[in-house]
């Protein structure tokens, strides 16, 4: 009996999460290019809100952390803190070539590399910057994977965040 209740509540939670994910955006060293494209997805032409996605100011209310830019040494600590403040279950999306791998800034002395060097990442959206359509596609793919029996597993970079 309790098993059934568990199953139903789990189904209900996924349904709620997938239908209205709240997103928080953090720029950990980006050039703004990705940030304005994320903002553009929320404005009338692309209108990400039609999928129920809402941009949210506080990490404590958010389900999805959207990161842009490579991680700079100074922003690293903040990124980790924001990630830790988010309630479980949480998902991380890395937007832009920089967030994926460090991009053009790989090798700069104050840059640690992509987001996955610091926190686990569920979805990578490449492009410099990715088009708004690509960002929407990435978010939708992440959401639809949550409904499948085998949801995406987060990926952590080579040195497990100890870099």
């Amino acid at each position: 009996m309790s098993n059934l209740v568990d199953q139903i509540t789990a189904g209900l939670k996924t349904w709620a999460r997938v239908n209205s994910p709240w997103v928080i955006h953090f720029n950990s060293g980006s050039c703004n290019g990705c940030d304005i494209e994320i903002l553009a997805t929320l404005t009338p032409r692309y209108d990400l809100e039609r999928f129920g996605v809402k941009l949210q100011g506080s990490p404590r209310h958010a389900d999805v952390l959207v990161c842009t830019g490579p991680v700079t040494r100074q922003a690293r600590e903040r990124l980790i803190r924001i990630y830790e403040q988010m309630p479980e279950p949480k998902f991380v999306v890395a937007v832009g070539s920089c967030a994926v791998s460090g991009g053009v800034f790989e090798g700069c002395y104050n840059v640690m590399g992509g987001i996955d060097r610091v926190i686990p990442v569920h979805a990578f959206i490449p492009g410099c910057p990715p088009r708004p359509e690509a960002i929407i596609d990435g978010v939708v793919k992440l959401l639809s994977s949550l409904q499948s029996p085998a949801p995406v597993q987060p990926i952590m970079g080579p040195d497990g965040g100890k870099a």
């Binding site: 060293g29 703004n32 100011g57 490579p70 040494r73 100074q74 700069c108 002395y109």
Partner: protein
């Protein structure tokens, strides 16, 4: 008889500080502000920058001139063309090469389209901070028209990569020019509407008229530049003071306001969009014929060059030093926001806390290009330097 209300004294030496950032809904980019408040009134303000410092200037020294073009374009995603163009102008000066007239004109067309997109973006963000989300949505919807035009010309929406050393990468065909003109017609109509909104909408004026007034003397003393300074009546525009490339033949008009408040800053930027539209039309009409790229030497001769360009936010300044190899010896970038930041800190004093987002957004801040340095002692702890420490450090380093 009413009791006299007891006055509550704050203990001496105690201050109430409100920290904002580095992650905050009102900030699109990480920056950290601390406002010392007395009730609702701001008494003091400090800023801590450096969250986006990546070390680009140093990285230029280990990449060759052509690679640097793409690296420097990514200093800022909003004025990317400005950075690439300023850098190319500097390198071309070192090599003694001048871009062909057609390339110069195309550079200016892209630069002015970029100015339109940047100002419209700002208009939306500023309206959003004022709580006027309708204007935010409208201006961003219309901004997509400029993005379409930029994509039509260059193939990309943000980092257009229009420049190559010695010229530009793409041509503008007559059909494309026709499409651009059509887009501009639409934008001009919308822009007239925005000018009407920012000068007549009572609700918006309540938030911006007479708020954050900066006199001309203050603007000059604090070293403000760009539209922020022009809104206070300072006649300063690199395109006019030291015309470069096609601006020599196609002069824009200087746009200033005298009030110095937030309203004036709105008006200056909206009127600049109008001026940019006029300039692009003129250039498309008189597009010179000819080559797109001039031949550049493999090695850049040793020497030093500076180049200045009017970015959407003010003057962008590059110093490039070459030692005769294929990598630069030093590239120094000076971008506008850091100079306008001082005006935020001094204007903040005496204003309401609720006005702070508006004051900050009034300068159109761009952190990604203003974060100059950062000290990191351990892996995770970064330090803040005071102005005096920084000054002493600078003197020590450059005495050698």
């Amino acid at each position: 008889m009413t009791q006299p209300i007891e006055k509550i004294e704050t203990p001496k030496g105690e201050r109430f500080i409100i920290p904002i950032g580095p992650q905050h809904p009102a900030l699109k980019e990480p920056g950290h502000f601390e406002f010392t408040v007395d009730g609702e009134t701001v008494k003091d303000a400090t800023v801590r920058l450096g969250y986006v410092h990546r070390g680009i200037e140093k990285a230029t020294e280990s990449r060759n001139y052509i690679q640097n073009l793409y690296l420097l374009e990514r200093i800022c995603g909003i004025c990317s063309h400005t950075h690439a163009m300023t850098y190319s102008l500097g390198v071309e000066k070192l090599a003694g090469v001048e871009a062909p007239p057609r390339a110069q004109a195309i550079r200016v067309i892209v630069a002015e389209l970029e100015r339109i997109h940047s100002h419209m973006l700002w208009l939306g963000v500023a309206a959003h901070e004022a709580g006027f989300d309708t204007l935010f949505m409208y201006s961003w919807r219309d901004r997509e028209t400029v993005m379409d035009l930029l994509e039509l010309l260059s193939g990309n929406r943000v980092n257009y990569s229009a420049n190559v050393l010695g010229g530009v990468k793409f041509d503008i065909t007559p059909e494309q020019a026709g499409d651009v003109l059509k887009g501009l017609d639409f934008l001009e109509g919308r822009n007239r509407h925005y000018l009407d909104v920012v000068s007549n909408d009572a609700l918006l004026l309540g938030r911006i008229r007479g708020v954050g007034v900066m006199t001309q003397a203050d603007a000059e003393r604090l070293g403000a530049i760009g539209p922020t300074a022009r809104a206070s009546g300072v006649a300063l525009d690199v395109r006019i003071d030291a015309p470069y490339i096609a601006y020599k033949d196609f002069q824009p008009a200087l746009i200033t306001e005298t009030a110095g408040d937030l309203e004036a800053r709105f008006k200056v930027r909206v009127r600049e969009i109008e001026e940019s539209i006029r300039l692009i039309r003129l250039l498309l009409e008189h597009l010179p014929e000819g080559e797109l790229v001039a031949r550049m030497p493999r090695r850049i001769p040793a020497g030093e060059a500076i180049s200045r360009v009017e970015a959407p936010r003010g003057e962008a300044f590059y110093f490039i030093k070459s030692n005769g190899t294929d990598t630069p010896a030093r590239v120094k970038v000076r971008t506008p926001t850091i100079f306008n930041m001082a005006t935020v800190l001094s204007l903040a004093k005496g204003l309401q806390l609720a006005d702070m987002p508006m004051i900050l957004v009034g300068i159109d801040p761009c952190f990604s290009c203003n974060d100059r340095m950062v000290t990191v002692r351990e892996a995770e702890r970064a330090e803040t330097w005071t102005w005096n420490e920084l000054r002493e450090h600078g003197i020590k380093v450059y005495q050698r």
